[in-house]
């Protein structure tokens, strides 16, 4: 309700700015600037720099900063405006945040890949610093002094020699009339001048609203006159409705009518799955009506999907030569040499099942179609994808789809795919009124864009000194690309997620990827392919250490090798990343050493045994270096307890350290869920799990009792923090289980293996 009262359907982003101007608000660069002022360097396609898009200052001094990334719990909505505030030298307590709608002028808005701060840091600094220069110029002009004689303190311009002060609100109107200075005339603060970036005191902007229940999530968005809808989707991907009977459904109190939603045209992308929607006065009636639907579905080629037999197919593929994605030296020759010289060959196979995101807030959206235009409110990670998807499905112009972004009750990658928003728009067009689509937990789990099932085959030749002379790794899974191309069988971007960038100092190494068919929608889940890749690589590293009778942590450091920049021979975006973010083994070594030190790793760890053990894993993902030590205790029933986790993180420059710690504490819990319980399976194409009783996520009593997060102080460019804590967790835990029990478990989740 609150959202609707605050922002009527006619108030677009542009409307907001016009309204702001009319009320005497300072809007940076309010005048039209015909040419791009400064395109972001090296990005020809980047939108022009328009400070007015990002912030405004009212005459009362209130600074409004636009958050263009979605807030799903990672803190982007706070972090980026904090950076603007710092460079503007404003007072955070006088800052308001306005959430951006989907609009290409903000550049890419998909809040995924742990890159909100990484991609937005420099731009947000420019926005703030530009505002500061303009405010100083306006104040200097008013005083008749040179701008060089002036400086700022939070929310004031100060004339140094006279001590005169003018509040930002007092000079905002005059500043708005000044030309926007060139980038080279906008000095940035030095690190020691930062008042907010990197400070412990930073906390989430929305914290007070969250704890009082006033925060508005997608589930809480409403539109006047809206109806509620719940959609019965085809149980198997690609099935269509053969016939349906809604007689009983219509008898349920509160049910108004039923409607059908057409099935997607392959590839499914973010289109609705299709199905029968029950329209009702409230959510409960819509849910209850659905239970009384009788639907007959036609057949789908995907009904052949059975997880048990599919696993065999993946494993068979992984045992054969596959497509080479990275090659160093000559692995095959090294295997032959090793056999002749008395070396050892070690092989192992690892398996990881599908996972569901299970955000606490299931998919939900409210949308209204009117006169060829669509207005939507949604908890989406990607509002521009909402525009594109609805435009495609309804045949309207992308610009005619306005997507407002609420807070997200978790996202983890699921909410980058706006199929449920498109459902609401499709239903609204049919009904001629706003529709709120609410997915049940069962819908959420049955119809996710699943984290892929994967099989990995690993082989190493080990010399008499216990060190590998050759390392072969093969990975096979249905790729995310299948969501966009039905013919896709090989991984693409997933290769950069912990597979084509092994940081080990091994002369001969080869990474391969094998083909697999998809039968469910495959998507990104927090840290994505890094999960199974790190599981295989870090488990195998531990296997080699134990085979060599070496300390696992020291062996890991030896594998990483001396400090150097690893040549990865990358292309495209990854090569671009590598320019600013080279893979530095010194940083990886450092986090391992810190985790070792803080955990008290050493003789105790090696000698714990008897149901207690420590394990270690290190993994770089989203350009962040992470090492994790997990301590386990296994009780007489074989149940795993996790008294302690120690994580060391080097994510470069940090905006909000406490939030970063919170992310890594949470990653340990997310890691516990997938390591101990997480498994989605299919039978005849339909998903077997449905709710938290059979798709368990970690509860407080099974979560790590204490997670220690150490952040390495760094002035390197900011890297990711939302995801990188997840990948090393499961292998560290499994390595600890081995230390505790002598059992080497090679499949996720651990609940499938009896430990006692």
């Amino acid at each position: 309700m609150k959202l609707i009262e605050n922002v009527s359907r006619h108030v677009s982003r542009r409307g907001f700015l016009q309204g702001a101007l009319a009320s005497g608000v300072f809007v940076l660069s309010a005048r039209l600037v015909p040419d791009p002022l400064w395109a972001a360097e090296g990005e020809a396609s980047a939108p022009p720099f328009e400070p007015s898009l990002w912030m405004s200052i009212a005459s009362d001094g209130t600074v409004t900063i636009v958050a263009h990334r979605s807030e799903m719990g990672c803190g982007s909505r706070t972090a980026l405006p904090l950076v603007v505030t710092d460079e503007l030298d404003a007072d955070w307590s006088r800052v308001k945040i306005e959430q951006a709608i989907g609009d290409p002028r903000y550049g890419e808005q998909d809040t995924d890949g742990s890159h909100s701060v990484r991609s937005g840091f420099d731009l947000m600094r420019q926005v703030g610093a530009t505002g500061r220069v303009m405010l100083i110029s306006a104040a200097a002009a008013q005083w008749g002094v040179s701008a060089k004689e002036c400086t700022t303190e939070p929310h004031f311009v100060v004339h140094r020699s006279s001590g005169r002060k003018l509040g930002y609100g007092e000079v905002a109107a005059a500043a708005a009339k000044l030309p926007v200075p060139k980038k080279e005339d906008v000095p940035l603060k030095t690190r020691v001048e930062w008042r907010y970036i990197g400070k412990e005191s930073n906390s989430l902007f929305d914290l007070p609203e969250i704890v009082t229940g006033k925060a508005i999530f997608g589930m809480d968005a409403t539109m006047p006159g809206m109806v509620y809808a719940s959609v019965e989707h085809p149980p198997v991907l690609g099935q269509k409705i053969k016939s349906y009977d809604d007689t009983a459904a219509l008898k349920v109190t509160g049910v108004q009518e039923t409607l059908t939603i057409a099935a997607f045209k392959p590839p499914h992308m973010f289109q609705p799955l299709g199905g029968v929607a029950v329209i009702a006065d409230n959510t409960y009636a819509a849910f209850a009506g659905r239970k009384n639907l009788k639907i007959e579905w036609d057949s789908s080629s995907h009904s052949v999907y059975n997880s048990t037999s599919f696993r065999k197919t993946l494993e068979d593929t992984s045992r054969q030569p596959c497509r080479v994605v990275r090659n160093v030296g000559d692995v095959d020759a090294a295997f032959v040499r090793s056999a002749k010289s008395g070396g050892k060959i070690i092989e192992a196979e690892y398996y990881a099942p599908h996972l569901a995101h299970a955000s606490m807030e299931p998919p939900v959206a409210v949308a209204e179609y009117r006169d060829g235009k669509v207005l939507a409110w949604a908890p989406t990670q990607n509002p521009q994808a909402v525009q594109e998807t609805i435009a495609g499905v309804l045949g309207v112009k992308k610009e005619d789809v306005t997507c407002h972004v609420t807070l997200l009750g978790g996202g983890f990658g699921r909410k980058s795919k706006p199929d449920q928003v498109a459902e609401a728009a499709v239903l609204s067009k049919q009904l001629g009124k706003p529709v709120k689509v609410v997915w049940s937990r069962e819908d959420d789990i049955h119809f996710d864009y699943f984290h892929s099932v994967a099989a990995m085959y690993m082989k190493a030749a080990v010399g008499t000194d216990g060190k590998p002379t050759a390392w072969l790794q093969r990975t096979v899974y249905p790729p995310i690309g299948s969501t966009f191309d039905t013919a896709a069988k090989y991984a693409d971007d997933e290769m950069g997620l912990g597979w084509n960038n092994l940081p080990f100092d091994i002369a001969n190494q080869r990474a391969e990827n094998g083909p697999a068919d998809y039968h469910v929608r495959i998507g990104w889940l927090r840290s994505v392919a890094n999960i199974y890749h790190a599981f295989a690589i870090s488990s195998f590293a531990d296997e080699l250490a134990k085979a060599a009778n070496k300390d696992s942590a020291q062996y890991l450091l030896d594998l990483v090798g001396p400090p150097r920049i690893v040549n990865l021979d990358l292309k495209g975006d990854e090569a671009e990343d590598a320019k600013n973010y080279p893979l530095e083994t010194a940083r990886l070594r450092r986090v391992v050493e810190i985790a070792v030190e803080r955990s008290g790793w050493g003789k105790e760890a090696m000698g714990l045994g008897k149901g207690r053990g420590m394990g270690i894993a290190a993994h770089r993902s989203f350009l962040t270096y992470v090492a994790t030590v997990v301590e386990v205790e296994i009780d007489s029933k074989g149940q795993v307890h996790i008294p302690n986790v120690w994580t060391a993180v080097d994510a470069g420059t940090i905006v909000s350290p406490d939030n970063v710690r919170n992310q890594f504490e949470g990653a340990a819990v997310f890691g516990t869920s997938l390591a101990l319980f997480g498994e989605i399976t299919a039978t005849n194409g339909a998903i077997d799990q449905s709710n938290f009783h059979n798709y368990q996520i970690t509860r407080m009593n099974r979560a790590p009792r204490h997670v220690d997060v150490h952040i390495v102080k760094s002035e390197a460019p900011p890297a990711g923090v939302g995801e990188p804590g997840v990948p090393p967790f499961a292998p560290a835990l499994y390595n600890a289980v081995f230390a505790a029990t002598g059992k080497r478990v090679r499949e996720l989740p651990l609940s499938k293996t009896k430990l006692v």
Binding site: N282, F287, R441, F670
Partner: protein, 159 residues
């Protein structure tokens, strides 16, 4: 006609008596601080108080609350020590489950002024947090217990 109280106000309901309290609160009374998570009393996002005790509103039918006093997060005012502790410890990430966590924690501290780690784990095990803020939730409950005890001492001194 079902009569009951929500946050101290008299209410009546003559709709489907099987409707879960959750959907009455959210869709009828527009009290959206109480969240939907699972519909099966498995996650605790929908936790409210019925006569002071924590219940799962997703699995409590309207016909079961006749004559009851229901308190939702909106009815916790002024700021409760538990909420203050949540802010001090900076517990939330996405925040969606936190109102349910807070309602459960308030109910716990009403029964047990100084719960141990073990007692907190047991009391809070029904409240899921996918972001994984459990360590901070536990710390915040201890903090709130301390605040409450301090306030109690203050009150004794002023009395």
């Amino acid at each position: 006609m079902i009569r009951f109280q929500v946050n101290g106000k008299e209410k009546t309901f003559d709709g489907d008596p099987d409707m879960p309290l959750l959907w009455y609160l959210r869709d009828v009374a527009q009290l959206t601080g109480t969240k939907f998570g699972c519909g099966m009393a498995l996650c605790g996002a929908c936790t409210v108080h019925q006569n002071g005790a924590a219940i799962r509103s997703c699995s409590t039918a309207m016909k079961e609350i006749s004559g009851a006093e229901i308190t939702t997060i909106e009815g916790i005012a002024p700021m409760h020590p538990v909420q203050e502790a949540w802010i001090e410890i900076r517990v939330p990430q996405c925040g969606y489950c936190q109102t349910g966590q807070i309602m459960q924690a308030i109910a716990l501290l009403q029964e047990n002024k100084n719960p141990s780690d073990q007692e907190i784990d047991t009391a809070m095990a029904g409240n899921l947090c996918r972001c994984g803020t459990y360590q901070r939730i536990r710390a915040a409950i201890h903090q709130a217990a301390k605040h409450q005890a301090a306030r109690h001492e203050d009150r004794k001194e002023t009395a």
